[in-house]
Amino acid sequence: MNAIIIYCLRDLVRWIRGKWGFISSLIAPAAWLIFVGMALPIKFTDNYLAFITPGILVMTILSASMQGGALLIMDKILGFYNKFMALPPPRESILFGKILVITIRGIIQSSIILGLAFLLGVPVYSPVQIIAVYLILILFGGLLSSVTTTIAVLIGEHDSYAAVTAMITMPLFFASSAMMPYSSMPGWLVIPASLNPLSIAIDSIRAVSEGMFPGSRLFILVIITVVMISVNVKLFRNVKL
């Protein structure tokens, strides 16, 4: 078996057995879906839940990635790194294992959220739409998990990492097209929101749900992801023990 898969399975088993990490990471997006999606008095659409669902899916990936970066730091603090680095598989497989497991975690969680959204009254997507949504989420998961593991490598310490992720999560989410369309945003927000990678993923899913193919957005997403992962690998190779 490939070392990346082995590292990934290790974290996956630990996560599922941990239970609480699994449950808690589902509560926040579910609460958003129910309390914001179904309770906010919105004028621009008659199904706000359907509008906000892509935003919540992306938010789920975001929080899964933020939690995931901490895995890398914990392995370092607890001394697993030293042991893994002395094994024959290349160093990078540790990193790719983390990116893979964080993405898988995000996908499992967003699947549950998507199912919940359909139950709550979002018009069910066609199979093709669902596949497209998954592709976008996987791509975005790869991007975000390489961002958070990069932050983890750079910071290398648990408390500071938690502080940094707490600091960027909220502004990143609100300065995106998750909550409202660009046409309803105040003028000053439109430009930052449209440059936000979160918006690119959200707009892509929204386009898919409306039956369109978001080619150019996906292309941008692929480019950013590739760049981010290469930066990540470079940093990881030089990391100090």
Partner: protein
Amino acid sequence: MTSVLLTKNLTRYYGELCAVRDMHIDVGNEIFGLLGPNGSGKTTTVLMLTTLLTPTSGTASVCGLDTVKYPRKVREKISYVPQDMAVDIRLTGRENVRLYAELYGISRPKDRTDEVIGILDLEDRADDFVKAYSGGMRRRLELAQALVHDPEVLFLDEPTVGLDVSARKKIWEYIRTLKKRGMSIFVTTHYMDEADRNCDRVAFMDRGSVKTCDTPAALKKLIDGDIIVASVEGTLPPVRLDGVKVISQNEEEITFLVKDRKNAGDYIGQEIQSLGATLNSISIRKPTLDDVFLHLVGDIEDTSPINMTSYRNMLGRRR
């Protein structure tokens, strides 16, 4: 004796701080102990030998393979158990070992896992979560993990630190069993008595340099005579006695070296009392590796004022 581990002028700096200086060691198929106080450069040495740290200068080779040129090949031949125990508490013992069997890419990982769990006598608890393991069992589990690919050299960094007496004894028994199976073992420790009992050869390390390297028996012969330890109460000036060497003296204890143990205890006892101090007890023993270390290196405690910049460097790099 063919060299399993060989270092030439091995040196490592952390900024200004020299952690390992000009190290020459030649280790064969044996249990080799690297001894020294905390912070003497033992772990840095192990990190270089296990390819985790690049030397600043000099070379190290494992089974004839240069650690800088062929890190991956070296890693296939060795196992490294660091000082900090790291086992997954949410996995069972068997799963923990299986993980390493898979990562080493050995054939029949399941059978090999069962086999090494057997060698370390962990069968009974193999399917329990590691959360419920004691410190000694966790260490044994780490040894099992290190054995899965049948390495030629096993590196153990302070394998018995933090364990109780019986667990320590057991760990050393396993280490000796592994040696009998043909493995070469490189172990660092600051417990001199354990090294004395278990290592074929030891090297003393202090402030980055190897002071001496030989069998424990040969090293103990460096001290000609017996050791007398007097436990005292009351203030004493620096003690000087004819025909007796004072090895160390503090408020509670004075350690002497005598050539002839006959009557030496009585003589020392009387002299101490005549200096006005109360003698609590006096004991005579053969020299130990601790005494040899003190003899060769001087006081273990560094009494020179701490250079704060290098001290901070040390802390910063050790995280």
